[in-house]
């Protein structure tokens, strides 16, 4: 009898282990290189339907030229990207190359290679100086400018004509024109204002900086500075007077852009890829692109640059990383990539090649007046999150001052 018991127990353990091992056997891959040589882990977000395909092409070309280096591509949506990178770093499994936005936090924790260590001098010299400066923490650049975009006002000419409204250049004109369009009724809104968590910080920048304020600089984040109040309060005015779509506080930019493309919004701030989107989704839309209105009409745009950054990890892949980055930034590879996604190039050679692109012209025009996020401030990531989480509260009974104060508080606590 006793031996039955033991037998039973042994069988139970064996069964469990066997099941586990079998599962392991046909489990997923864990990214091993297929032959000897180095493997690079590349973690990127998807900018559009085409992103993964574009990267696959780049990698195929690179692996052809460098047979002893394999590149592992991991694509995530922007939603998931930041939590994936955070958990990877936590677990000591950071990728080798990462395409993201904020990087100063990583730099502060000494996780990144200075860019001069991972690209050749020629590549480094090809970057637009303003973009490269923007990627510096304490004088050393840790991020490689990847793609840039500027913002501009997309105007639905048909709607504005119907409402008898003018294309605005100042805030007051914007308010007036937007109200006229909203009054057309039938589900139409004058100005599309996305204060939702997808990219609240962008809309915030448009308004707060347009009124002469700023988020701060490399040393200090100053969201609650009095200069920002004008913009925040004007947002409230726009919402209260019915110039915007309903529920601005929880509306995200992309779905709202979709509504603009379908012709139900008078004006909305858009980016270079929007041109391609309109072309494919609603080519009959009558629209035009104009500089963003500011409080006093002075020129301004929000410049956004995403970066490529290289994690040191064990420090043994520097050469492979350099090879890949040099390959990617070579004009034959880089320019088509940027063009396909509809963004602005950050390299001098890129700008030269795309200078004639009609779709990019309005954005290239406003680029010289671009202001950037203070991405080199180590608290920028926390600021970004705080805006996403809290800025939409402007569409509520909370005062503009309180909302800005809340955001500052969350930044300071982080």
């Amino acid at each position: 009898m006793a031996q039955y018991k033991r037998l039973g127990g042994i069988m139970a353990i064996t069964l469990a282990t066997a099941t586990g091992l079998t599962a392991c056997g046909f489990g997923g891959s864990s990214g091993e290189a297929s032959g000897g040589g180095t493997t690079l882990d590349l973690l990127v977000p998807s900018y559009s339907d085409a992103t993964q395909g574009l990267w696959n092409d780049v990698i195929a070309g690179f692996e052809d030229e460098n047979p002893d280096i394999d590149v592992n591509l991991q694509v995530e949506s922007w939603d998931n990207l930041e939590s994936v990178i955070a958990t990877k770093i936590q677990g000591g499994d950071a990728p080798d190359i990462y395409n993201g936005g904020p990087f100063a936090g990583f730099a502060e924790d000494e996780l990144l290679y200075p860019v001069e260590d991972v690209v050749s001098e020629d590549t480094l010299a090809d970057f637009q100086p303003s973009f490269l400066e923007n990627a510096q923490v304490d004088g050393t650049a840790y991020g490689l400018p990847f793609i840039a975009s500027a913002r501009a006002l997309f105007v639905n000419d048909a709607l504005l004509e119907e409402a008898g409204a003018e294309v605005p250049t100042t805030w007051d004109e914007l308010l007036e024109s937007a109200k006229k369009v909203s009054e057309l009724g039938g589900g139409v809104a004058g100005y599309g204002m996305p204060l939702g968590s997808e990219e609240a910080q962008a809309e915030a920048a448009v308004w707060l900086w347009g009124g002469g304020g700023s988020f701060g600089d490399a040393d200090e984040i100053t969201v609650d500075a009095p200069e920002n109040l004008a913009g925040a309060e004007f947002i409230k005015t726009m919402i209260d007077e019915g110039a915007t779509q309903a529920d601005a506080g929880a509306t995200d930019r992309s779905p709202l852009m979709d509504i603009f493309i379908q012709g139900k919004i008078g004006m909305q701030v858009g980016l270079p890829p929007t041109v391609g989107q309109i072309e494919s989704d609603n080519p009959d839309l009558e629209y035009s692109i104009h500089p963003i209105p500011t409080e006093d009409g002075s020129p301004f745009t929000l410049g956004v640059a995403d970066h490529l950054m290289a994690f040191q990890n064990d420090g043994d892949k520097q050469e492979a990383i350099t090879a890949f980055l040099d390959y990617f930034y070579s004009p034959e590879v880089y320019v088509p990539w940027v063009q396909a996604e509809g963004f602005l190039p950050t390299t001098l050679s890129g700008s030269d090649q795309l200078a004639d692109e009609e779709a990019l012209a309005p954005f290239l025009e406003v680029l010289p007046d671009a202001q950037f996020y203070p991405t080199t401030n180590p608290d920028w990531q926390a600021t970004d999150s705080a805006f996403k989480a809290l800025f939409g509260q402007l569409d509520s009974k909370k005062s503009a001052e309180d909302v800005l104060a809340d955001i500052q508080a969350q930044v300071d606590a982080g």
Binding site: K5, R6, G8, G9, I10, A12, I13, A16, E82, S83, A86, T87, I89, Q90, G91, G105, F106, E108, D109, L111, G185, G186, G187, L195, G196, S197, E198, A200, Q245, A246, D247, G249, A250, T251, D252, P255, I259, K264, Q381, A382, S385, A386, K388, A389, L390, F391, G392, Q393, D395, S396, Q410, A413, G414
Partner: protein
């Protein structure tokens, strides 16, 4: 001791599995709650109970805790009441009952994420089906519909509706099973004594369902408290913290603010709250009598 050794081959694998996959991360969670961890995940040293102080001192903490209570109580209570009615219906004969029983299974068989996504889609202004239906029927004035998922109150309410919806199948079936064990004689006897349907139900049937109901409620309480995907999808686009429960707040700390230390502290609090709730419930209701 010898007893324990004999038991080992039988309970060994279970203990091993729990020890490696559950206990270690739990321990780590408790540990992390007392550390200061940077946004990139680098551990910067111990800070004692500071994280707890920060979490509890946060403005929205007590409203979030209160809302969590509301969330659990309302969802579990509604699920229970509707399930009782539903089970009673499904226990009676009528043509097509088999079909209805199958329909009740569907939300259970579907992933919660998928069900929530379709409801969220339906409630979107401009292109959501549910919204456009409400507009067509005349219940909503504005042509693009109402932003149900854009306001904390309505989004939270709809999230509760979805939570009840996905909890109904399990609870209904558990109660249905319980109903099957109610001997017909007791019902007959009550009827012979002159009690009408409702009276019979309340004083004869219901008490005999105690076992089934108490089990179902306990499981529901735990699952609803720990529920994340429904709230995340339905209230995810709302700024601020007016529609958060403890679980969604933990994830906001983890993913939005990237403060693993605060998330761990809040997780510890949540963990302790659940332990207390379950302990109290088990003591009061005793669904685990002969364990």
């Amino acid at each position: 001791m010898k007893d324990l050794l004999k038991a080992l081959p039988w309970i060994g694998p279970a203990v091993a599995l729990i020890a490696t996959v559950v206990l270690f991360p739990v321990g780590l969670m408790f540990w992390n709650s007392t550390r200061d961890i940077s946004q990139s995940g680098v551990d910067k040293g111990g800070v004692g109970l500071d994280n707890f102080a920060t979490v509890v001192g946060f403005d929205a903490f007590w409203p979030i805790l209160g809302r969590t209570v509301v969330w659990v109580v309302v969802v579990v209570a509604c699920t229970l009441v509707i399930s009782l009615a539903l089970a009673a219906l499904l226990n009676k004969a009528f043509p097509g009952r088999r079909l209805v029983r199958m329909a009740v299974i569907v939300p259970w068989a579907s992933s919660v994420v998928m069900t929530t996504l379709v409801v969220h889609y339906g409630l979107e202004p401009y292109f959501g089906i549910i919204n456009s239906f409400l507009v067509d029927v005349g219940l909503i004035d504005s042509p693009e519909g109402y932003g149900w998922t854009r306001h904390a109150g309505t989004a939270f309410t709809w999230a509760m509706v979805v939570a009840v919806f996905v909890s109904l199948p399990f609870t209904t079936y558990t109660i249905l099973a319980g109903l099957q064990t109610v001997p017909g004689e007791t019902v007959e006897a009550a009827r012979l004594d002159g009690a009408n349907g409702v009276r019979t139900y309340l004083s004869v049937v219901l008490p005999q369902l105690r076992g089934a109901v108490s089990v179902a409620v306990l499981i529901n309480i735990i699952n609803v408290f720990n529920s994340l995907p429904i709230l995340r999808v339905m209230t995810g686009s709302i700024p601020g913290y007016d529609a958060d429960t403890v679980m969604t707040m933990i994830f906001k700390y983890m993913q939005n603010q990237r403060q693993i230390d605060l998330a761990s502290a809040l997780s510890v609090i949540a963990f302790l709250v659940v332990v207390v709730i379950v302990a109290v419930y088990v003591r009061l209701v005793r669904p685990l009598e002969e364990v």
